[in-house]
């Protein structure tokens, strides 16, 4: 299994994440890039702060990759997540998946970001001009 996982408190590099999954036997790569948006529900966002339970986050990221390899015929899988303080426009997460055929790459990449948002112990605080909030904390 060609599987690459990274948690980093310094800026992520899109190209190096993509390079990890490139292969002569792959025909399609799907890449998802999550960036910091300048507004949430009409409120201006100043920055985001990401905090991770690092060892467990890497374990859960590995579970996601393993499930993706079980479900789809993949060539390689890479998931990089940022921690720390991020300004608007910065990259919070990159997921790159390669496969011989594109359907598997699309499906697995989407599965990976959807599952990451449900199960990986990483928390995001949105900082506004007039306060801050831990995203999704309350019903």
């Amino acid at each position: 299994m060609n599987l690459f996982l990274k948690l980093s408190d310094t800026p992520l590099d899109i190209h190096s994440c993509i390079r990890e999954v490139e292969s002569p036997s792959c025909g399609g790569i799907d890449v998802f890039i999550g960036t910091v948006r300048d507004a949430t529900q009409g409120k201006r966002v100043l920055r985001l702060e990401f905090e991770a339970y690092e060892k467990m986050a890497l374990k859960e990221m590995r579970h996601i990759a393993e499930k993706a390899f079980e479900r789809w015929p993949l060539q390689a899988f890479s998931m990089h997540h940022r921690t720390g303080v991020l300004a608007v426009g910065e990259v919070a997460v990159i997921i790159a998946v390669s496969a011989a055929h594109r359907a598997a790459a699309f499906d697995a990449c989407r599965f990976a970001i959807d599952t990451l948002k449900e199960s990986v112990p990483i928390w995001k605080k949105e900082v506004f001009e007039d306060g801050e909030v831990w995203v999704a904390a309350h019903p």
């Binding site: 905090e51 339970y53 467990m56 374990k59 112990p121 928390w123 831990w134 999704a136 904390a137 019903p139």
Partner: protein, 80 residues
């Protein structure tokens, strides 16, 4: 037994530190520990979800907590 419990995100703010200690009987389950914590920190029960991890895996209600286990409170995750 004394259990050290890691906290993150809003749980860290609710509990007032990046780890706390709980004193619970041997043979305590995750469900019982959650109950104990919710009594001590009522705001945990007001979260959209409130799970425990034991040794870096999500714990089921009947997971037993052993001395030396790494226990963590997992408030609603919001990565990505």
């Amino acid at each position: 037994m004394k259990i050290k419990i890691l906290t993150f995100g809003i749980a860290r703010e609710i509990c007032g530190g990046s780890s706390i200690q709980a004193d619970v009987p041997e043979g305590t389950t995750a469900a019982a520990l959650k109950h104990h914590l919710a009594q001590q920190f009522p705001r945990l029960a007001g979260l959209a979800s409130f799970l425990l991890a034991v040794n870096e895996e999500f714990a089921a209600d009947d997971t037993l907590i052993h001395p030396g286990d790494e226990v963590a409170i997992i408030p609603p995750v919001s990565g990505g």
